[in-house]
Each structure stands twice: as C-alpha cells, then as structure tokens.
Amino acid sequence: MLRVTQAALAAWREHLHGTYPARLVAFLRQNLPEHDSEDLPERSAEASWRAGVWDLVDEQSVTTYVVLATIHGPRFDEQPWARELLADPRLAPPERIRRVYEVAVRRATVAGTPLAAKERHDP
C-alpha cells in the first residue's frame, strides 16, 4: 500500500510549484488558443504576479485571474465590475476571484441584450 507522507507531499508541491508557469502556459494555449502568441509566457507571468497584489496565492485562484486577464486584458482588475469584488475585505481572496469569474460569465450571458447596460456596473 502506497503511503503519502507529509514530506512527500511537500516535495510534490515544490515540484508542482516549479512547474506552474509552464503548466499555466500550456493550459492557456489549450483552452484559449486565440490568445496564443510569442509573449504569452511573459503575459501570463505578469498576470500571475498581479494576482498576488490581490492576495491570490493558490494555483486555482491565480489561474482564474490569469484566464480573466487573458480574455479581458491585463488591466481588467481596474474595471468596476472586477475591482469592487477583488477589494472586498469581507470575502476570502479565493472567493473574491470566484465571484469575479461568475460576473464575467453573467456579462457574457447578457451581452447584446438590454440587460447588458443595466447590469454593466453591478457586481
């Protein structure tokens, strides 16, 4: 029977962390191929770093942030619909970015309908 020790888990996490940038780029290339370009590694690294400014430190939250930055631009966090949630002190950071993603989905849903203008600034 295979036993996973704390040390092995830590080593695995270390390994995972070291490979995160490459895994992130591969993920983006696979799921957002229309945004692929020579500078994708640099753009994704930049967005990862900027995610840290919003206290997003786990891989899932950072990747969510990077996906949104890739779709909506590196300064999407300055737009009211994202900024208000990202800066909300009542929520844990992973919950903030999860809700931002939900808003992004909602915006995509109502895009082109009369609701778009009405909900534009509604987080």
Partner: protein, 544 residues
C-alpha cells in the same frame, strides 16, 4: 466569448489546478522597476549615426548603458518589455542623469539616482504591496543651465508609455516636487520621468491687470482663429516668468480672435544689419517686405487657424503638415543648429527632411516635416501621438540595418505635428515669437528671404526695386493690392531712413553689387557649408 465556453474553461482549470498549492515564490521574489529620466529634446539624427547599425553590440558599445546592465545582473524578477522600452527611449529623448527619486514605499534603497544613461532601477522588498491607488514620490532635479532670456521654470512628468502622465510644475529655483507614481501595481512598464522647460502664461488688460491665468498643457492650449472666444478680445498674452508681452488678441472677420504681433522691434534690428553682405538694393527690398509682412518676431493667429511667423509670415497651408513654415524651420535646423537647439530643440521640437534641392524654391527641403516629442501620451487631438506606438516603431527600426536618417524619420513620423492648428498653442506662439528676436534666427530669415529675392528677380528683365518688391510679394502669395503694398513698404523704408540707413530710390534699377555669393545663391550657401544637394555640386564646387 460565450458563457458556455467560460464554464468549460472554469471546469478545466478546477480539474488541473488546486487550491492546495500556493505560489509563495512569486511573491517572495523582488520586483524591480526601470526608470528612464530625460529632457524632451529629441535625439538628433547625427547623434543616432553610430547607433543605426544592424550590429547590436556596436550600438551598445557606442553609448554607456549602466542601468540595463544593473537590471540584467539583479536577482529580481526580469521582464523584457521595460528593458526593450528603455533602449528605445534613449533614441527618443536625451537622457538626464542625477535625478533623485525617493519616497516609494518598500524599496531596497530609499533613494535612487539616475545614472549616466538616465536610468535607475527601483528594487522593491519581497511581498511589496503597492495596491494603494496613489503613491507620491519625491523627485529632486539636478541644477539646470539657464538660457538667457528664457523661462527657467520646469515641469516634471512621470508616466508609463502610452498613458497620460502625472505632472508637477516647479517654480524658478525650485528643484524638488512630489508626483504620483504611475501604475504602481504594474511592474511591466518602463517609467518615463520627463523634465521639461516650462512657461507661465497670463492674459492681461492693456493696463496690466491680470484677467486669466492659462493652465493645463500649454502645448495644447490654443489661441487663434476658430478657437478663441470673444471674452479674450483685446487681452494681451504674457509669459509671466520673463515678464514678456507677446501680443494682443485681435478680432478678424467679425467673429474670429487670435494673436497678432507685427514684430516692429525685430524689423528695426534687421534694417540695422547686413550692410556687409547684402547690396543696398536687397536691403531696400527687405525693408519694404518688413513693412508689408512683418518683423522676424512677428506672430499672428487671428486670421486663420495657423501660426503666421516672421518676415515672410510663413505658414503651414491647409490640409498639409509641410509648407514654407516647415521649410524655414528646416533651414534653421540645418544651418544654425545651436540656435535651433536653444530656441526649439530643447523643447522637443525636431525637423526631418530627406534632401536639399540644388536650386532654391519654397520647397528646397524634400519631404520636410516638423515634430515634437511629448513627455507622455497619448494625448487628445490635435496631439494624438502615442508614446507607446512610437517606442514600438523605433524598437522595430533598431532591429534593422537602417540608416540614421531612416531611424530619425521613424522618430519624426511617430511624433509629427499633425495639423496646422498645432502651431497656435500658447507654447508654440511664444517660442516662435521669442526665436524671432534671436540674431541667428533673424539672419536665417534674412538669408532665406534673400534667396527668394534672387528667385523673384530672376524672371524679370532689369527690374526696378518696386518691381522686385512686387514680384517678391506675389511669390509669397500675397493678395494685397498694389497701393496698400506700396504704402506699407514705403512706411518701413522711411522708418529705416529715419534710423539712419541709406537706400536707393524705389523706382531705381535693382543693383546687386555688394551681395555676398552665399547670401544671393542657395547652391553656393550649401556648397560653402559642406551641405549636399540633389543633384550634387559640380566637382570644382565641392568642399573637401
């Protein structure tokens, strides 16, 4: 992007990335921002010559680059974009060493000083939080060399390429200011720190009472036809730090308002000079022209949405960015570089052209263009030049084996003055008014005028002075009637006589004895100065 696709991406990232693994090292690595400090004077084409080669090493060796070297060697996170922008920026603006930057929170060293290449690396402590919206930094400037007669106030701009900057104005003698750090959360962009010679403009009544202080971007605040409202009618425009009265706002056509200064003081100076290089006939014609068109420091913006400047009231024509206004400025840039730099270059104004014709005409410079490098951008129209776009273009040009002139043309294209209304900003009106009082600029105007006299009389058989003057003014496109022309010309000639100068009679035959060849003939002027023309000078006339 459809909501369905967003859900699919979300599902994929939840599968592939967990919340257990954190990215501590991303936050624990130092961040470093690159700063480039500069004055707005564009790097001259001749300065680019040793650098416009395909060999990158040769370019790097030609100038010192302590800041990129320090950036390369640092243990912080490295980014390519600011590094590349720093190199491109050195081809746009002249670097400024000795600027102190202090007050940024969490920097490893509390104060940075720009090096010989104008650069500084701001290294931040790990886990630095710059999420605050506004972070003021203290900028301390090195002592500047005063230019006699010009304002010594300065404006500081801190920006990132492609974005409007944060500005602070420094009064005379003040070297320190506080400016908000731009895009504090972004580590990617280069920070541009511009130090510009600046001005202060006021409108005053005739008795000196201040009615309005003109603020904002003085390169965009225009006074002239189609812009200025009746409330400013009859006010006088002053540059207050030098106590200089520039001109009065007059009405034109019943509904338009703009500056007019006839330049009579400059006309007096011109009439008093050039007896050793110009014949009495040419000085007579020039005295007449001064009365009809204006003195060398004459400026007018009331009769059209453009600046009319100098002894020939040169303008930029409609739907054009060239015209004779650009030609005379090109002549100053070409033959009087020190005066050009003092009057225009250090304010970021530059000239581009691709060659000189062998025969003088009002289009002697080929593909001429004026440009001005701004401190930041993009700006609103008419200055819609974008620093981001220009840096990218220049970076691409650097990677090719371009000649220096091509590199300079790239720079000029990026910041070209877009329309004739660009010439009626307060800053431009003042600079051209001021330049017209400079001896070298006056000489350039007189020489250019003399070349036009030669061209005008070449078509006449044994002309009288009056005929030469008429031909000259018609060549300018003057639509003034003969009687008025004669009246104004005679007034200026009589003023010259009253000042003690001797002129032949207007109806006497034009006699060019006493005119130096280089003042009469453009090709000779070019040959003697070692300037190439197209076609080239015959071998016997080439200067070795």
């Amino acid at each position: 992007m459809t909501p369905e696709r967003l859900r699919a991406i979300q599902d994929a990232l939840v599968r592939e990335f967990t919340t257990d693994c954190t990215l501590q090292s991303c936050q624990s690595t130092q961040r470093a921002d690159l700063v480039y400090s500069h004055v707005p004077a564009a790097v001259d084409a001749t300065g680019l010559a040793p650098l416009a080669q395909s060999d990158v090493d040769a370019r790097v060796d030609a100038w010192v680059w302590p800041t990129p070297t320090a950036y390369e060697q640092g243990a912080h996170q490295h980014a390519t974009a600011p590094y590349r922008d720093f190199i491109a920026a050195r081809f746009v603006w002249q670097e400024l060493a000795g600027v102190r930057i202090a007050g940024l929170p969490h920097t490893v060293t509390p104060t940075a000083v720009t090096a010989a290449d104008g650069g500084a690396v701001l290294v931040f402590q790990p886990n630095t939080d710059l999420a605050a919206q506004t972070i003021p930094v203290t900028i301390t400037l090195p002592q500047q060399l005063a230019v006699a007669g010009y304002p010594s106030v300065r404006r500081v701009c801190l920006s990132v390429p492609g974005q409007p900057g944060n500005h602070a104005d420094l009064a005379d003698g003040v070297a320190e200011c506080s400016v908000a750090y731009p895009s504090p959360r972004d580590r990617a962009p280069l920070r541009l720190l511009s130090v510009m010679p600046w001005f202060q403009f006021e409108l005053r009544d005739g008795d000196g009472t201040v009615t309005e202080r003109i603020t904002g971007d003085l390169w965009r605040e225009r006074i002239g036809f189609g812009t200025t409202l009746v409330a400013r009618w009859r006010k006088w425009l002053w540059e207050t730090t030098t106590n200089t009265r520039i001109g009065q706002i007059l009405r034109y056509g019943g509904t338009h308002y703009g500056i007019q200064h006839l330049g009579e003081d400059g006309a007096t100076t011109v009439r008093a000079n050039y007896a050793d290089t110009l014949s009495a006939s040419r000085r007579l014609v020039i005295a007449g022209v001064l009365g009809v068109e204006g003195g060398p420091n004459a400026v007018a913006s009331h009769d059209g949405p453009k600046l009319s400047w100098g002894m020939n009231q040169w303008i930029t024509p409609p739907d054009s960015t060239t015209g004779e206004f650009a030609q005379i400025v090109a002549y100053i840039y070409d033959f009087f570089p020190a005066a050009f730099d003092r009057c225009f270059g250090r304010y970021g104004i530059g000239v581009t052209f691709t060659g000189r014709a062998r025969t003088w005409s009002a289009a002697a410079y080929r593909n001429v263009g004026l440009f001005r490098v701004p401190c930041c951008g993009p700006g609103a129209a008419p200055h819609s030049t974008d620093v981001r776009v220009a840096l990218d273009e220049l970076r691409r040009a650097l990677g090719t084996p371009a000649a220096a002139t091509q590199l300079h043309a790239t720079l000029a294209r990026g910041f070209r003055l877009l329309t004739r209304t660009d010439t009626i900003s307060c800053a431009m009106i003042y600079l051209f008014f001021k330049a017209g009082s400079e001896p070298d600029i006056q000489r350039a105007q007189v020489e250019w005028t003399s070349f036009r006299i030669s061209a005008a009389i070449a078509r006449l058989q044994a002309p009288t002075h009056d005929a030469a003057l008429g031909a000259f003014l018609r060549s300018l496109g003057s639509n003034i009637d003969d009687a008025t022309r004669l009246q104004k010309a005679t007034a200026s000639i009589n003023a010259g006589r009253a000042e003690g100068h001797s002129y032949p009679a207007l109806n006497a035959r034009f006699n060019d004895a006493g005119t130096a060849a280089a003042w009469r003939d453009w090709a000779t002027r070019c040959d003697e100065a070692g300037k190439e023309t197209v076609p080239a000078a015959p071998p016997a006339q080439r200067r070795t």
